[in-house]
């Protein structure tokens, strides 16, 4: 134990519970991985983090879109909660995800909205058999930079997948409940339980001795060896589709193995913050969303991952927000039919979601790292896959990019791009910032140049 404690001078109790409780952060610098410290972390050397935050059912665009453009833009009513980080925002108007449109497949815009949001792909309409979408940009980024951290990527969200019923007009729930897709057939399951997420990130600290820990690791390793061997043997006996199903298992084994290896490598250097989390799922939606934001911020800060997605809710979500004066279901309300009362409620919900975003950005902005803050070293994309919830259109999407991207983004602006510019052009521009250049993604037509 002593061995462990000497290396964790700052593993003191930190309380995350409750809505606006800020993290006490004196252990911040100590949380930097030893390797990073050895490098001498400077802003330019800080790793770049990517987060994608998703809100369902579109926005009331008249209140979302700033009326003025350029660096002197004024925050719109919906964006008011972001006043504290206005200068770190790049609001992008005019982007589109045209593969979320019907294209002959009829209704199902909510399923397509989520499925297409980060993939730019047109999901195959099916309730079950032969699910097919595209690979999402976060997973492409994870493929490129995920090997640097213990977690290739993190996927979180407030709403578990629906457990009964067909989700949207003949589309499997896999579509409306997942924005992150590892492969065209495999969505990345998201974690909805803050406590489980915490334990996954930092492990349960059960005061094991190094020997005990080594034995536990050996046990895990033999479990994984065996699992991989078993799956490989089974796989050769299967048909095409079955084999693809089992590939998910093999991929998972490989990923956990890599993570274990990294965990072993830095178990001694990284302290585990002791955090009180509610034992059950938070009942309050806002608290739930913010707790997950806290944990994502912590994971970024401890450099446990550099890629994350967060779904505030699944698309088509029909929860009500009576606490902010929107007593009917969100989806139902979003079909506002230009009724002023409904529009006002949609605005309230939109603002509520933006408040959660503001919380996350504010958190990143208070986390110092090297000579900057985590927000300086991040690119946070926020938006929805539907523009107006009433019309279900997928052009003119509400999209904003926050963070400095290690000095690669000129923020504090509202930029209107050419109508129907693919959102995937922005994704390519984000990908460029990893130092590698990809030629195309989804339905991209080029690299969005508006960032710098």
């Amino acid at each position: 134990m002593a061995h462990f404690l000497t290396r964790t001078p700052l593993s003191r109790r930190t309380f995350l519970r409750g809505a606006g409780v800020a993290l006490a952060l004196p252990w911040l610098e100590a949380m930097l991985p030893r390797a990073a410290l050895a490098r001498g972390v400077a802003a330019s050397a800080a790793p770049l983090r990517f987060a994608f935050l998703f809100a369902p059912n579109g926005k009331w665009m008249n209140s979302w879109t700033p009326t003025t453009e350029g660096a002197s833009f004024e925050l719109s009513p919906t964006l008011q909660p972001l006043a504290g980080v206005r200068d770190r925002l790049l609001v992008l108007s005019g982007l589109a995800q045209k593969n979320a449109e019907a294209l002959g497949d009829g209704p199902g815009d909510h399923a397509r909205s989520a499925a297409c949001f980060l993939t730019g792909a047109h999901p195959k309409k099916t309730e079950g058999a032969e699910i097919h979408n595209g690979i999402s940009i976060d997973q492409v980024l994870a493929e490129r930079i995920g090997h640097e951290t213990r977690f290739r990527s993190l996927e979180v969200g407030c709403t578990p997948p629906l457990t009964s019923g067909n989700c949207d007009s003949g589309y499997s729930c896999a579509y409306s409940c997942n924005i992150s897709w590892r492969s065209p057939t495999t969505p990345q399951l998201k974690e909805t339980d803050p406590r489980a997420l915490f334990e996954r990130l930092f492990g349960a600290t059960d005061g094991l001795t190094p020997q005990q820990r080594a034995r536990r690791l050996a046990r895990k390793q033999s479990l994984l060896d065996y699992a991989r061997d078993d799956a490989t043997r089974l796989s050769v006996q299967l048909g095409t589709t079955d084999r693809r199903k089992l590939d998910e298992y093999l991929t998972a084994v490989r990923e956990i193995e890599q993570r274990l290896a990294k965990a072993e490598a830095d178990a001694a250097t990284r302290p585990v913050p002791v955090i009180d989390l509610p034992a059950a799922m938070p009942a309050d939606h806002g608290e739930h969303a913010r707790l997950l934001c806290d944990l994502l911020a912590l994971a970024f800060q401890a450099d446990l991952t550099r890629v994350a997605t967060h779904m505030f809710a699944n698309d088509g979500d029909n929860r009500s927000y009576p606490q902010i004066g929107a007593p009917d279901g969100h989806h139902e309300t979003s079909h506002h039919r230009d009724d002023p009362i409904r529009i006002e409620r949609v605005e309230k919900i939109d603002r509520f979601h933006v408040e959660q975003l503001a919380y996350f950005l504010g958190k990143l902005a208070t986390m110092n790292e090297g000579d900057g803050t985590l927000l300086d070293h991040s690119l946070v994309l926020y938006g929805a896959g539907i523009s107006d919830g009433n019309a279900h259109n997928h052009d003119e999407l509400p999209i904003l990019l926050a963070g400095g991207g290690n000095g690669t983004v000129k923020s504090g602006r509202h930029v209107r791009v050419a109508p129907a510019t693919p959102l995937c052009n922005l994704f390519l521009a984000l990908h460029d910032r990893t130092g590698a250049r990809a030629s195309s993604f989804g339905d991209s037509t080029g690299h969005l140049s508006a960032l710098a």
Partner: protein, 771 residues
Amino acid sequence: MRSLLPSLLATALAQEPDFARDVLPLLRDSCLDCHAGAEPAASLALDGITDEAQARASSGTWRRVRDKLECGEMPPPDAPAADARLVERAQRWLAVRLGTGPGSWPLDPGRVTLRRLSRFEYAFSVRDLLDLPLPLAEKLPPDEVGYGFDTIGDVLSLSPLLLEKYAALAEEIAAAALPGAELRASAMRRFEGEALPTTLHENYGDDFGVLFAQGSILAEFEVPRAGEYLVRARMSGDQAGPDPCRFVLTMKAVASERGGTPELLRGEVACERPTAETHEWRGRIEAGRQRLDLAFVNDYYQADATDPGQRDRNLLVDWIEVEGPLDPMPPTASERRFYACGADHAHTRACLPATLKRIATRAWRRPVSELELARLLAPVDAALAAGDTLVEATRLGLSLILVSPNFLYRSEIDALPDDPSAQRPLSAHELASRLSYFLWSSLPDERLTTLAEQGLLRERDVLADEARRMLRDPRAHSLISQFAAQWLQLRSLAAVAPDPQAFPDFDEALRDAMRLETELFVEAVFREGRPLRELVDADFTFVNERLALHYGIAGIVGSAMQRVRVTDRSRGGLLGHASLLTLTSNPTRTSPVKRGKFVLERLLGTPPPPPPPGVGALDDTAQAAATATLRERLAQHRSKADCAGCHVKMDALGFTLEHFGPTGGWRDRDGPHVIDDGGTLPDGAVLHGASDLKRVVLEGDSFTRCFAEQLLTFALGRGLLDDDRRAVHALVTGYRGKSPSLEKLVVDLLALDAFLRRRGEAPRASAPEGR
């Protein structure tokens, strides 16, 4: 090939159905004007089909044609009537080809994709494998849903996150199933008196805990397992007055709020400090956190006593010890189930092969080869060599079995997996698995496994007898918790949130009672062999006091659900259940549309197409509600041509339930408006109230067919093919309007090729790479 006498040949040929002769004339005469070309009416193209081979290519088309002809919907009223003789001949052809008798097209048994266990199947399988009822389903994320169920192989996926949970759970399960030395060892704990809390305001202790007035000293400790323990207390006293110090030792489980505090021991402490004496109690203590309470019960204080040594009596506690468990621990249920060499847990390495082989055989639902066994034993032996105890190494073996894809996935191995023409009957073990996951959502029990090993299970009578046995088993409750709950979308009830201002009386107790009513009701229909039509129309239900109050049923007391006769004809049956009525409502009002849709989709198997994009929802503002009834507002909505087609039927069905409010209570008014429970169907028929709706639902075979299709989807774990629907149609037609019991239907479904056979996979149409 049929061999026919030459004299009969001519007649036989004349009777052999022939598309060109029997159907084509009708198509040309009455159908092709609309159902042809690039954009055929109702997306139904009938042109370009001229012979049997082309007709065979799509049996789904002909099911639609048959249904439309059967109910006389086609040709439409504004077109010239069809020639009755042509219709009759076509219908004869359709009946033969789409039937299951001689001349019918062979049925495609289909192919089920490798199925991962759902989280419930996982939990039930572990429960039955190890006799270990852990709450495992809650520890796994919800599963993806397809075709309304979470048993669909194509949809169920496995992410790294999930595999991590499986790995962690496997270790957790192994530890719980095979308790190790830490539970079995006896331990001694000593609590020093001066360190213990007391009920007095302070413990003045130095070497002793001091009870200077009447009060108690408290010691809490964890009991790892129930058993015999020794509790000892070493005490001394400051003696004064006529009597020695007296004490009472009691103990109580910390978690238990109620019940007395049993007394362990009472006695006297006569010695004077610093000497001390030890008192002890030996007896059974239950597992969990316990609190010992050692009370001083005869305080004495005379401040003015002349002898200073006679002024104050105090009880002093040196220490309290708890030792145990002293008795050997009997084998747990899991251990008895687990070890192959007798119930005694004192197993040996020599017993491991037999044990692991037995468990793997049941967990993987098939025989285990010697090679597989050797591969299981290798890491176990490696762990032993590295210093693990036998129990720890055995746990590893069990973890391996549980994390193996052979457990997590239900595989059916083909010799020619990628040849669609390679059909085969399932192996006996595959069949046992399909049967047990269908009826129990769990793995086959020993009897099924034995029957599979003996090759008997594939005999039709044996299979049917087993199904009957299994339906009577308590494990068949999964047909309620897994099948019915998903069929009726009952799981969504947990998330429904009626507006608290409009429905202040809606609470968790009511929500629970609603769910229980439906579960108990469906279970009664299933278990009592009642005709399935009673699901829609019955004269009984289950209520407790809370739900009875909600329904306006008098004379029910208590929170336990009780079976009651239903005298109100509109209540009996699922359509009168508050659960379904609530989950088909919006937070602030009823939704005749959702209710109508539920009836069409879940009870009649004819889901309406989804609404076109951009259509407005209903105006729900308070302002709108004040000026027009919901019915008037829906009528406005229907008046849009886009909406009318589907809404006429949905709304008509939904309106009949308008007397049931958004939480299922009875109402005569909706705000200022008097309830009108009438609805007009597209054919002009007028319905009033729930009893008319029930009549419509039970007309013909639709409900039975829909139920059978839902059950088959759940059982197979895949979406139904046209041929499956054809088989179900033929099956249900065979009931001739007599509603079957669940048992009858299950036994009949088990005889379908879709259940008994499988084929290789057809090559996929070239996958769209991000169109």
